[in-house]
Amino acid sequence: MRIEVEARPSYGMAVVHLEDGETFIAESGAMVAMSPAIDVATRFNGTGTGGVAGWVVAALTGLARKFFAGESLFVNEYLAKSGSQQVMVAPPLVGDVEHLSLEGNNITVQSTSYLGSTKNVNVSLVWGGFSMLFSKEGAFFLKCGGNGELVINSFGAIEKVTVDGSYTVDTGHVVAWEGDLNYQLGRAGSWKSTMLSGEGLVMNFSGQGTVWLQTRNLGSMLGWIRPQLPT
């Protein structure tokens, strides 16, 4: 398996090269193109261990992901039936795509930033805390861990920031962060500033680790285009 990302940072697309028997999982709707000898299976985007009980757990967690995290209800599993096959995947919004290799470490990802992963990456829903309910991004994140490949996407370009001490980020610009970092939700400035300034919630990160930011914010972009819509 080999993953290459093209057209960064504007309209990133991941090209996943698969050998016979290898599998890649991607969000439903992400497929751009693929070679002919690939089998596609659609399943619930949830975690389950098999059997009827497993199916129920998968369906429930899938629904939770859909309603709380904005994830799609289904994922597609692409299985290569011969060598040298490719599947190309891309997100619906314009922006960047990045491939990360996990080696037993954890990366927490904003729910709409998950694009795909290999089967040995464990993806679980994480509750972000009650204050996060007030953020436009929702209160759930996806914790990805294990040994395998993870592909994330962003709205805008991805900027990596190395936190050494503390760093404050507008929640709409957060894509992912390394598991070891701590964060506290806060407001930029005083409460008056928050209400009036257009800055919503911020995450105050502390510790050592990488934070992945996106250079655009969907809420701001919608605010920019809205006054220009025909009535």
Partner: protein
């Protein structure tokens, strides 16, 4: 102050390093990330009257002022529209800037929305032309890439593509008129520039994007 722009022209972002006491003014909602100890204040720039005018213009009414409390504090700024950012140094000549393109500036730059021709450029789109003068740094943003054109003679531009132009240029906004006006992106308005000076255009038009998205909106149930 150190400044740089990254990710040009795709989804450009401005990265600033401020020394103690240095200040930057930004439009609301532009902060992407910052040093935790950087001080942020929200003001209604230009008092109530200025704020009301900006609201009419579609500019956010509030501007944020960031002040560094110690040396080497960082502020990372992003615009709302997919596209480019350009840094301009103002000293002698004023610059006309499309209201949606103002991103941030140093406090020495005055931003005026009251000058004579402000409302003539854009029809009903809620945009207008700001006049920026004074001495300092100005960052402008765009939808699409920013393309600079040095004008000598006459040049015609669809108004939806104008980002900024130098005060030395004469301009005349007119309607293309007739059937043809249906097919130009900004309600048939073009601007004819004459004289000598620099014009910055953007290679995409937000009116066209709005027109493309419109049919995908949910339909209001009666």
């Amino acid at each position: 102050m150190e400044h740089s722009i990254r990710n040009k022209p795709d989804f450009a972002s401005v990265h600033l390093l401020l020394d103690q006491g240095e200040q930057v003014v930004t439009e609301a909602g532009a902060m992407m990330g910052m040093s935790t100890d950087l001080k942020m204040e929200t003001n209604m720039k230009g008092g109530l009257l200025g704020a009301a005018k900006r609201a009419l213009g579609g500019e956010s009414v509030f501007l944020n002022t960031y002040t560094a409390t110690s040396d080497g504090q960082r502020l990372d700024v992003a615009s709302s529209a997919p596209g480019d950012i350009e840094h301009l140094s103002l000293s002698t000549a004023p610059l006309m800037v499309q209201s949606g393109s103002y991103l941030c500036s140093t406090p020495g730059v005055q931003v005026d929305s009251k000058w004579g021709g402000a409302r003539t450029f854009f029809g009903g789109e809620g945009l207008f032309m700001l006049r920026c003068s004074g001495v300092g740094d100005l960052w402008i943003s765009s939808y699409g890439a920013i393309h600079a054109i040095d004008i000598t003679g006459t040049y015609v531009v669809d108004t939806g593509h104008i980002v900024a132009f130098e005060d030395t240029l004469q301009f005349k906004v007119r309607s293309v008129g007739g059937l043809k006006s249906l097919f130009f992106s900004s309600e048939g308005l073009v601007c004819e520039f004459t004289g000598s000076g620099r014009l910055w255009i953007q290679t995409r038009n937000s009116g066209s994007l709005a027109g493309f998205l419109h049919p995908f909106r949910p339909v209001q149930s009666k």
